[in-house]
Symmetry: C2
């Protein structure tokens, strides 16, 4: 009994020591991020000097070169490009969405934009009447008879009572993604989609849409939430309302682009890789500050902090700037394809693509049949909770790292507070001035702290 | 044994039922706040139609009338004013803070403002050289010999590595509050205080300062954090730097003002009062949106939500708009004085004065020797955590409710995320456009949920 007690004491002593050393290192990580952080300056450059960077655009090309240089200048062990062909969609000149004959208001210009991937209307535009629906079910119930030759106006709002705004987004976004093809089935000439914003706003949200095969490709436009409400009010008394849509967007040939990868090689287990990343491409309307400049600079900052602290990771740590998350996911697919081809062993991949907001926790998707990996990460909660990270309950990784799942990689998403995200997402407002310095830095430090713990203790 | 088991089953059944009814009501509170909330529209009016409302100003008088009308219009059972005399300090024309002879830059206008309560310089201003210090200890070590006839420049920054920005504020704010009198002890002619901002900013932060008795009252000015850094850099190579200060502020006679109180009377225990409040006064530079328009409209919103839900509280619920938190606390003192005089029994008082940001938790200060009241509130964490309220660990109430402490009242502070607060606090930037609608609404709902639980279950 005495021996056993002594043994337990030793064990718990060792564990306390490890705990206290982890506490110390994590505190140091946050100090580096908050007192000498460089994520905010990086984001300033990416947003204000480069700006919008839709796949295939000059901005995207500039961002590739910029991030390569930044990681080289920080002296990471290797920095390289992964070539990948990406869709190349262009918006063309400013869209027009106009009510032409309101009984109450006459001609009304609406705040609109083309949805990403949409076909244009041709230069002569399209004029037709409007039928409003809240769901695909309601659309189906109207049928060809009431839809043929008209615009379908999808006007189901994001549910404001959802605590997590991403849940509200999930409940509305099929209108944007599949609305055009659903409406085309019944002979619609185009769709007008209520923007994916949770508040009353005067600007539209763009975002990806896809055409189903076997139905005509009709143009798809987003309208600001305020103007969606206006349009709906006007339609109530004025069924003969006529709408003019003009969009000059088009899909060009695929264009060459790149993922950008920076790496610090592990000192003990260099073949075990921990990847952290965000996506370098953005939509074309704003600067892509929260979506996802924040995730990119935070990922670079993790490696920079390790170097600045003199921390030598046991495992190989990679910062990955994924290309083309917004309209194709080609970069994420390419990264996973190359990882498989090169027989790389990723033990974890972490994505930051929910904005540069104050930390709440991490989402975790462990590989099938390995719930202990999720439990392992959750066991670190006491070390991370003092930094505002208390939610480790939700599953999820991220779009770009998703393709790594079949390789048995534990996928993790950085989870910041979600309340303000959909004020900016895919809009002309997603600019540097909407990002708070400390919130951004805390995100970078939170990611670095988790990478440190995985690096030290593994996920076995 | 069988009977006992049955008894336990019944007990736990009842408790489960209560739990589930609480869950249901709390969900309803959040639905009301998020889908049909009026806090944001109230704040819009208070900020954009009334604006700044320093004690004794026309804005403060307008805010008193406005809040009285709002609560009457919502049909609360009683709404009344509590007269209170308040300090009446006025800023006068725009201050000047100017480096007059920089070797490198010549004349440099700095971004400055008078600290609240400061005397002016007289219209002729004051010109003198500058000595920079980081602390009162450093000031004392310099002594009269090196301070006499000069400006003292207090330049200790808020510590950016503090996770809670209020802790960083606490570590720096004595420079603002007592710096002038400390410097006057050694013959200084005035003080220049680094603004209480945690980030590099181009605008100054005002805030309260007090003169100690027995030392001369010298003028006290705040300088923006960016200009504090500039001034410090210039002083390094240029000890003969000369500074011109001109401030026209003055303290007038005390002015009449009011606390504004609205009440819904309890159906079962009407003599047990739960008070919730914020302070109606603000500094004069911005609109007082986060500080503390947010707390005021959230407090009114709690009672409005209860009425909108048809919830009849068992206990009496009061929304209190305290006057003069910023430069005197006369409203808070008057409220406590009247409560004592009228033998009122406050079982809890909740203050929201940390901005309209996303919820984190509540601070709790239970009366001496009654830790069970704190534990009671903490026991509700499972009901509140789904709404982002997970931190119930810190002590604290709020400045305005503090004077109730001697009456054995449990004091509670609404605790939102603190990262952005000191970007706005006491600055020209504390405006309506810096408040997020959902974050504000979640705060109101969080307060309503806690008031509901206290009302239903008491704190015994």
């Amino acid at each position: 009994m005495m021996l056993r007690a002594l043994f337990l004491l030793l064990i718990s002593g060792t564990s306390l020591l490890a705990q206290s050393s982890d506490e110390f290192t994590i505190r140091k990580i946050y100090d580096k991020a908050l007192a000498e952080g460089q994520s905010y300056a990086m984001l300033d450059y990416l947003c204000n000097k480069i700006g919008a960077r839709l796949s295939g655009s000059p901005g995207a090309a500039a961002a590739v070169e910029w991030s390569r240089h930044v990681m080289e200048d920080y002296g990471f062990d290797s920095v390289w490009l992964q070539p990948v062909m990406v869709p190349h969609w262009v918006r063309g000149q400013k869209e027009v969405g106009r009510i032409v004959n309101s009984k109450k208001m006459g001609t009304v210009e609406l705040s609109v934009c083309a949805l990403g991937g949409s076909v244009g209307t041709g230069p002569e535009g399209i004029t037709a009447s409007i039928v409003e629906v809240k769901s695909f079910e309601e659309l189906a119930s109207l049928g060809t008879k009431q839809v043929q030759g008209k615009f379908v106006f999808f006007n189901r709002p994001m549910d404001p009572t959802q605590l997590q705004t991403f849940t509200a987004y999930g409940g509305a976004v099929n209108q944007r993604g599949s609305g055009a093809s659903e409406a085309a089935k019944y002979g619609a000439v185009g769709v007008i989609v209520r923007s994916m914003g949770i508040n009353p706003e005067s600007y539209p949200h763009t975002g990806g849409m896809r055409y189903a095969t076997g139905v005509p490709m009709i143009p798809a436009m987003a309208v600001s939430t305020k103007h969606a409400d206006l349009l709906s009010r006007l339609l109530k008394d004025d069924k003969g309302l006529s709408f003019y849509m003009e969009m000059h967007c088009q899909l060009l040939e695929d264009a060459p682009s790149f993922n950008v990868v920076g790496e610090i090689r592990g000192s003990e287990y260099k073949d075990e890789i921990i990847a952290i990343g965000g996506h370098l491409d953005s939509w074309d309307l704003g600067q892509g500050a929260h979506d996802d400049g924040a995730g990119c600079v935070q990922s670079i900052e993790v490696l920079r902090i390790f170097k600045a602290m003199g921390y030598k990771p046991k495992r190989t740590i990679r910062a990955v700037m994924f290309m083309n998350e917004e309209n194709g996911l080609r970069g994420g697919q390419k990264y996973a394809e190359l990882a498989k081809q090169n027989k790389e062993n990723h033990i974890a991949a972490i994505e930051s693509d929910r904005g540069g907001f104050t930390p709440r926790g991490f989402t975790i998707s462990a590989p099938d049949g390995q719930p202990e990996k999720r439990a392992r990460i959750q066991s670190w909660k006491p070390l991370l909770e003092p930094y505002g990270l208390s939610d480790f309950s939700q599953p999820g990784g991220g779009a770009d790292i998703g393709p790594l799942a079949p390789q048995g990689v534990t996928l993790i998403g950085y989870l910041p507070d979600s309340q303000r995200y959909f004020n900016f997402h895919h809009t002309p407002e997603d600019n540097f001035d909407k990002v708070d310095k400390r919130e951004l830095e805390l995100g970078a430090a939170s990611m670095a702290a988790l990478v440190y713990l995985i690096d030290q203790h593994g996920l076995k």
